[in-house]
């Protein structure tokens, strides 16, 4: 068995707002092994980004982790002080943000911004050493050396995105979180970037958490995946398995709503309704308003809701496995 790199156990996170506590992450658990790529998929607002932010504890001031544990190589991250967290950030876990356009400070050169990150964690390096490191990184992601001396607005979208990846790799992290890194780019560049990421991962033996709402990308990039809905994981398991054998009603609807290039022409099914507002406490199965075949028990919440095993390493939320 490969080494466990990241273990998240029953993570619960909520935001404190003027209208009450909004539970954004409910009882999320997953494990990532060395070299593995893990996908997190779901609609907008289902909590995937919140999970990512909690791993680095980068959430907004009014967000609190109410319970659960996050273990990085056995070390507990929840409850660490800010100064200890700062050492963990980037050095062990880094993140490629959604929208690389804005991740860069417009008045500082790209090279300087990357060197800044390296300096923070390796203060004894000389400037030359850092520059060499960046040259290496740029080569991996396919950027020319001179980009280092440029300002962000001089780069195209694709170049900025590659630079962000270089930035994320600069401190040799163990886990890289990619939060919708290609959403804002055109399809051609998207393909290139995805290939880059895969290449980098294999080259450096990183663990990757890939977050997206695009199920096709997840299929291409990941070996394990989890489907999230309304703050909790409804199905988790090997990607191939979930795609060929989706057990949860939501997962099934999700797959059926994506057009496929191969195979016969099928009529697309779309999901009615919207994801539930997370402010109200949801009784019962959170998916029931949109479930095509809800039973009384689903709506009332008397159905036992927990993840049950539906295949080898494959779990789903018990409620909707039977319906739909």
């Amino acid at each position: 068995m490969k080494k466990e790199v990241l273990k998240v156990d029953n993570l619960n996170m909520h935001y404190e707002t003027l209208s009450g506590n909004v539970s954004a992450v409910k009882n999320v658990s997953f494990t990532i092994h060395e070299g593995e790529s893990f996908g997190l998929v779901g609609e907008s607002g289902c909590g995937k980004t919140s999970v990512a932010m909690s791993l680095l504890q980068l959430q907004a001031d009014n967000a609190k982790i109410s319970s659960g544990s996050i273990k990085l190589e056995g070390r507990e991250l929840v409850g660490l002080s800010e100064s200890e967290l700062r050492k963990v950030r980037w050095d062990s876990i880094s993140i490629v943000f959604q929208g690389a356009m804005n991740a860069w400070n417009p008045v500082i050169k790209i090279g300087e911004q990357i060197r800044e990150a390296i300096r923070e964690h390796y203060p004894s390096n000389t400037k030359q050493q850092n520059i060499e490191k960046i040259k290496e990184l740029f080569e991996i992601v396919g950027l020319k050396e001179e980009i280092m001396d440029r300002y962000p607005h001089e780069l195209s979208g694709g170049m900025k995105q590659r630079a962000v990846i270089a930035l994320a790799l600069s401190c040799n992290p163990k886990v890289v979180i990619a939060d919708e890194p290609t959403t804002a780019l055109d399809v051609v560049i998207q393909d290139q970037i995805l290939k880059e990421i895969k290449k980098v991962q294999e080259l450096l033996g990183l663990s990757l958490i890939y977050i997206s709402h695009d199920i096709a990308v997840i299929a291409e990039m990941t070996s394990q995946m989890a489907v999230m809905y309304a703050g909790s994981i409804v199905e988790i398991g090997p990607t191939k398995e979930i795609f060929s054998n989706p057990k949860h009603a939501y997962t099934r609807l999700l797959l059926e709503s994506t057009p496929s290039v191969v195979g016969e022409k099928k009529k697309l099914r779309s999901l009615d309704g919207e994801p539930p507002s997370l402010i109200d406490d949801i009784k019962g199965c959170s998916f029931s308003p949109r479930c095509p075949n809800p039973t009384e028990e689903c709506k009332n919440g008397t159905k036992d809701m927990r993840l049950i095993k539906v295949g080898e390493g494959h779990y789903a939320d018990s409620c909707c496995v039977e319906c739909g």
Partner: protein, 355 residues
């Protein structure tokens, strides 16, 4: 169908307004400012009510021509030459409260140790005059209220005028660009070049500066000055947005685009400016009155001016009611408007709100 569309628009606007009001309420700064402004507005309205309903006697309490003829009794004393004595510590202690120095009484028949009725102005705060009276016997509190009226009138008038001018000019400069822009920029340069205070000295030499005149002068100076530049840069940001281009492609005339697209987007900034201009106007008026340049009957600046020419400024805390209420009023009202502006800023600029 037309009606339906109008109704929808109205409903959207109402909703937006409600949302904005709520946002404003959640801003501590804005709320504080609003309370202060409301307080002074209340004072401004209070005065005519007091007069009309007869609670206050016009003859006694009028801020400009009122005079309190009531007399109080004092014990006549003669202040010694050298201090300290057994009765008094220093010169400042004689005459003490309730006493009056013989040297200032004209009547030669009055002797030390007698009780003398006199009307001493300025009188300290008493139950009759909440903030005391000034050296001419006029009620200070009434003066404050009058000053409040002047401040509001002057401030709002000059601010509205100034903002109207600078918004229109700034939008035109941004929109038409080129020569028009260059001309307007140089024009505002010209205004910027003139020193404010000396300029007002000059103007006051040949124009009698009453409230209306001053408001117009301040409005024009403010409107044509640096604010044009700021509004222009804001309008420029709107101009490069895609919807302006689409408006032009669909055949909108330039004037129409200017009015229905650019102006509404610049309006929040203009509103902000207006509120801050009021602050400036109130401050300017008080400084100008203090220098004796204006011809306004009664204002806060004038109150301080009078207390200076009467020589009470260096009396320290002894005659505090002559200086403190007026000075503090200027500070608080100007600051109150500024805070309201900050609160509005939080409404219009979502990036300034709390996380």
């Amino acid at each position: 169908m037309e009606n339906n569309e109008k109704d929808i628009r109205k409903a959207i606007r109402k909703e937006a307004l409600r949302k904005n009001v709520n946002l404003f309420r959640s801003s501590k700064l804005g709320k504080t400012g609003l309370i202060i402004v409301a307080f002074f507005a209340f004072l401004a309205i209070l005065q005519p009510i007091l007069f009309l309903t007869g609670i206050w006697n016009d003859g006694v309490y009028h801020p400009v021509v009122g005079y309190d003829a009531s007399k109080t009794e004092f014990l006549v004393v003669e202040c010694p030459r050298d201090y300290p004595t057994e009765k008094y510590e220093s010169r400042a202690d004689c005459p003490a409260k309730g006493e009056i120095n013989k040297s200032i009484i004209f009547d030669p028949n009055v002797k030390v140790g007698q009780l003398y009725e006199a009307n001493v102005q300025p009188a300290p705060p008493s139950s009759k005059h909440i903030l005391g009276t000034d050296s001419l016997g006029r009620d200070i509190f009434s003066q404050i209220m009058e000053g409040s009226q002047v401040a509001f009138l002057l401030g709002l008038l000059s601010a509205t005028l100034g903002v109207a001018i600078s918004t229109i000019l700034g939008s035109i400069a941004a929109f038409y660009g080129g020569r028009v822009d260059a001309y307007l920029m140089r024009q505002s340069d010209l205004i910027l070049m003139l020193p404010f205070l000396p300029l007002l000295f000059i103007i006051s030499a040949f124009v009698e500066l009453k409230v209306w005149h001053l408001a117009v002068v301040l409005g024009i100076l403010g409107g044509l000055g640096g604010s044009v530049i700021t509004i222009k840069s804001a309008a420029l940001q709107v101009k490069v947005k895609p919807f302006v281009d689409s408006a032009r492609i669909t055949g909108g005339s330039r004037m129409r685009i200017l009015f229905s697209h650019i102006l509404p987007n610049v309006a929040p900034l203009a509103l902000l400016f207006m509120v801050f201009s009021v602050t400036g106007a109130i401050a300017s008026e008080s400084v100008l009155s203090f220098l004796g340049l204006l011809n306004i009957d009664m204002s806060w600046g004038l109150m301080i001016y009078l207390s200076q020419t009467d020589g009470y400024i260096f009396s320290g805390l002894e005659y505090w009611w002559l200086i403190l209420p007026a000075g503090l009023s200027v500070t608080f009202l100007a600051g109150g408007f500024y805070l309201v502006g900050r609160g509005l800023d939080e409404v219009f600029n979502p990036r300034l709100r709390g996380r």
